[in-house]
Symmetry: C2
Subunit: 356 residues, 2 copies
Amino acid sequence: MVSRLEVHDDDLDSRAREVLREIIIEHVATGEAISSRSLSKCGRFQLSPASLRNVMADLEDLGYLQQPHTSAGRIPTDRGYRFFIDYLMKSRVLTQREREAIDDEVAHGNEIEEVLHLASRVISRLSDQVGVVFMPTLLQFAIRSMDFVLVAENRIMCVIVGTNGVVVNKIIETRLQFTRDELEKISRYITVEFAGLTLDTIRRRLVRMTEDERAQHDRLLQKTIALGIDAVNDVTPVEHELVVEGATSILTKPEFADAAALRKTFLALQEKEKLVEILNSCLTEDALQILIGSESDYTQVHNFSIVARPYGTSASPLGIVGIIGPMRMEYARVAPLVDYLGLALSRKIEEKEQQQ
Amino acid sequence: MVSRLEVHDDDLDSRAREVLREIIIEHVATGEAISSRSLSKCGRFQLSPASLRNVMADLEDLGYLQQPHTSAGRIPTDRGYRFFIDYLMKSRVLTQREREAIDDEVAHGNEIEEVLHLASRVISRLSDQVGVVFMPTLLQFAIRSMDFVLVAENRIMCVIVGTNGVVVNKIIETRLQFTRDELEKISRYITVEFAGLTLDTIRRRLVRMTEDERAQHDRLLQKTIALGIDAVNDVTPVEHELVVEGATSILTKPEFADAAALRKTFLALQEKEKLVEILNSCLTEDALQILIGSESDYTQVHNFSIVARPYGTSASPLGIVGIIGPMRMEYARVAPLVDYLGLALSRKIEEKEQQQ
DNA sequence: GTTAGCACTCAAAGCGCCGGAGTGCTAGCC
DNA sequence: GGCTAGCACTCCGGCGCTTTGAGTGCTAAC
């Protein structure tokens, strides 16, 4: 599915590299196809349009550039962008302001859903692209405490705090009835007994306990086990959490000027399963990743690029943050933003972990 | 701001009414301007195009119809829609399927935010318009219980259950530190002391208690008061909850065929303050309300209509559900949907209340 | 009151034309 | 051998023109 285009550093001599670089920067800035004449006039090359045309023709032969039609300038191909990102791009350093904006948002998050939304929104705003935040299953989630609060006799709110400070909460419908007293006891019992373990382990232990002899006689223990199992099952749903924010950012991009393109793009952003699939594949490596157009099924169809990065501890990544946008985007500006957001989230989680 | 267009039942004779009715139904179905010829062919009138043209000319003079240009058919004005809704429309009866879909979603909601989202989504899906759900401030919200759960030493999750069964939860950051034990005591105290009162009353009482002599000496009571006030303040924020879902439904509507219109519309839906203002004005009457185009500032600019209805008990409405769409919509189908959703929500809340 | 007929209007679609931007190629220059 | 001026070629896009067809308003006759 995800197969990066193969480009090699020594495919191009230094002049061709500079030309490719300039074309991409210029095209990203204007959205127009770049002509030999405008390149010549930009002043960075002491060459006539005719000479630049030769270089450009070579770059086209190698698959880095293409012409929308015969009498137009050149635009980068996805292969061109790939070369740019791998060898030519100089990542911009974030401004104080950008770092503060990200730090602020991350500091504010409390519950996990809130954090996902804030992160997605801030990255969307800063990058002016569509923000995407993804949290895979919580089965590997180690807990610090698990509390149960009475909502109605057979509706219980479960609040789980992870060792990483992340909070998840969910209301559970149950056939059994509970009193406040019982719930307090159950909360204590489960927290003492299972703190530090992952939800997956906890569920397995609870299931095993069902057969335990003690559980046959102890009514409260039975209820504890039943409630615990319900809780774990309810907070680790099959559908992963995927938050997509700032879809309106694409409204102003010239590549989506016509209604049909807009329509297609909005619908594409709705296909969350596809997105989840791709983002999941980004989880393998603990570093910023950029996917361009044809490098995956999803991005190919829509000429999207994805800039994404896992967050959480490198040992157990918690999820992925990133952005989706047209292939034509300022990678040098967006990449460090995504990277910093990932780092900030990871750092926050690590701090909480140590606090404990 | 909200001023319904004035139309009178006896403005039109029965033939004109039938013609207006047919034109609106036909135009809503096709999106096209309706010509005298197509009307004549539809079979409901035993009249030639020429005769119908006379009727149509009259309807135009009275402001119920308009022509996009000289040689086009007629389309309804907002005044025309208003007459249709007030006097001509026969609301469709909901199908079993639609009622079940709504009932199911309403039954599933637990926390208040979840409910808002589910309701907004289901009404958007069924009506194929943009779903809007609005919950005004919770200050009038009477509580059944208030529980506090330890998340970290200075981060507490507060879970409030209303007498109407609605659940709100929020994490509170506090300077004071709390132990599990203390929180259990505080939860009990507040629940026992304040059950049945509104958040507004509770806050006022807590503030008054600050000056109480006992509070000067009792450390735990001090902490209780501080935490209680924080909790009430945190769950009744200034910005009201407004959930807008299904914005993509407008993608397929012909009135938004061109990119500029799409863009404008999406941006309009982002202006939540304006929307809140209008929806708030719908709270006064405990019935379904339909706002058409020029009947409010907001809808005028964008040629929108709003179909909305309060929910909650008639004594204290909790919020508003509704949809936003182009003026050209199937009011006869959408109106009963919105109405039923409002009823279902109200009914659910009432049930919970009685359960108690 | 109804209708057939006719003149009129106007949007939308089709067509041809031209200009401009940009390229590829070739031949000549350093 | 690399660079560049010049030229022929291509193609998009805009402009103006005409045609078509849908629909109306009006008038006169039934």
